[in-house]
Amino acid sequence: MKISKLTVYSALKLLKSGEMTATEILNLSLEAVEEKKELNAFITTTIERAGKDAICSDTMYKDKKPRLLEGIPIAHKDMFCTKNIKTTAGSKMLENFVPQYESTVSNKLKELGTVLIGKTNQDEFGMGSNSLHSFFGSIKNPYSCKETLSPGGSSGGSAVSVASGQVLLATGTDTGGSIRQPASYNGIVGYKPTYGLVSRWGCIAYASSLDCPGIFGKTVLDTAYGLTSIAGHDEKDGTSSTEEAEDYLTTLIKMEEEQGSIDLKGYKIGIIKEIESMTLSDEVREKLSTTKLKLEKSGAEFIELSIPSLKFALPAYYTIALAESSANLARYDGIRYGHSDTSGKTFIDRMKLSRTQGFGEEVQRRIILGTTVLASGFYDAYFIKASKVRRVLYNEFQVAFKKCDSILMPTTPNTAPVIDDTISPLKEYSLDLFTVPINLIGSPAISIPAGLSDRGLPIGLQLVSKQFEDAKLLKLAYKIEHIIKGQKNDGV
């Protein structure tokens, strides 16, 4: 048995029936971690603690009181603060940071019996789309052959840890596509919940009005397990929704158990016409149209929608995200935690040195730009303008959602790019073309594998729904996943 053959659903079955123990599953996971070390998916592994947790899980099964995810090996993006476990956000700034508190997301998953394998590598502070901007080295896409392929970013390590069969479930954060885009590049499912559905407390901030903690899994059903575990109001996060979280799981488990035939009769799926004329690789374009045909055959009705401002989403997103991040990263002054250079004579010197040494180039770029768009003389023309564009985009999408159940669109304009020196910032930013609009409007979105390109690389498509229609979205995604029968594999 290889862990890559398991899903959360199937593993739970084996655990419940006693065919496997949590310790056995953990060992499979640890074998894979050892075997796939060169992918550099983890910054920190927590093997010792995992062993104890697995033993505890086995006791729970023995006592017939397993929790929802009892014994499931998982990984957390290193943005989630974990008590007494180093949490770096992929940055030299936090190279030695050991939080004395546990993020709401990681705490909820812990309380539900998961076994934490480690903290995954990522772009520094979530800033990047190729996982190149990590102080702990770049991450390799498991689909890489001769050339190293981008695993996507910023949650590259989490995506790779699931795709390469090291864990069954991983958390990520999605500010502009950081879950969906790497999920797409790695041939797995990535779920970005509605903004406000999942607490951000204890999750290191990139851009507060856009940051969404979410889940990677091999299947839609697995991500539903994850979402069910982490959704819900948190009084420690003032932007967390007070609405009760829905049941994301029962319907899906029922469908999985019944194994009945699946169709899309009565579903209206939107297609955005502006995407036609946008930068999009042929292989992704083709996958979108063949998928559309398949879904139509299954009974779905396709509706053409117009989002005229879609092309403004990318610059609006970068303006807002960078502005917010420039302030969010001001707390790293080297005094209370984080990289502290004490060679400077004055406080200002020390702070400047600590920040300049502690932050990588991309982070510094974004801080400078974020500072600029908020500065007097720029604020109205840039930050306020972008915030207005955000509302325009939001309004256009709300009109569109009235006409359909969900919108189908590419997750990324292309398959995983080859990592070389030619990736300029703007080129990197453009990888988020289709993911950032969804963060701007706060909607839930899921990237599901739509099969492989001719070159054998995964292509993901995303489904986007109205805010707080996460349960409906997951149900539709589950159906589409089964209709597409997207290739599920264990990487290379």
């Binding site: 970068y318 303006t319 004055t346 400078i368 303008k385 325009v392 910032p425």
Partner: protein, 97 residues
């Protein structure tokens, strides 16, 4: 919009980063600023800016105090602490406020 030296200086000062001109030019700030400047062609006449997508009202906190972490936890991640471990400590600041 060109990212002038004066701007580089001001922005790095405001963000407390030590940015040499060489580093700054490598950051390609010009091209990015120009790119986000494309927003100006989007018609936003009469539109209010949107700062959050949350469609719900904010839930405020009740005025309840909760016991605070120990000093040990507070100072756990720093060595910038005075000898008695009662304060954060930094080089002498000439008070400017």
């Amino acid at each position: 919009m060109a990212f002038t030296k004066a701007m580089t200086d001001k922005m790095s000062r405001l963000s407390q980063l030590e940015l040499t001109e060489a580093v700054a030019s490598n950051l390609k700030l010009d091209s990015i600023l120009e790119w986000v400047g494309e927003l100006k062609v989007c018609d936003t006449e009469g539109i209010d800016p949107m700062f959050s997508t949350a469609p719900f009202n904010m839930k405020m906190r009740e005025d309840k105090k909760i016991s605070t972490p120990t000093r040990e936890e507070i100072f756990f991640n720093t060595s910038n602490v005075d000898g008695d471990k009662k304060f954060f400590s930094i080089p002498k600041v000439i008070e400017t406020k």
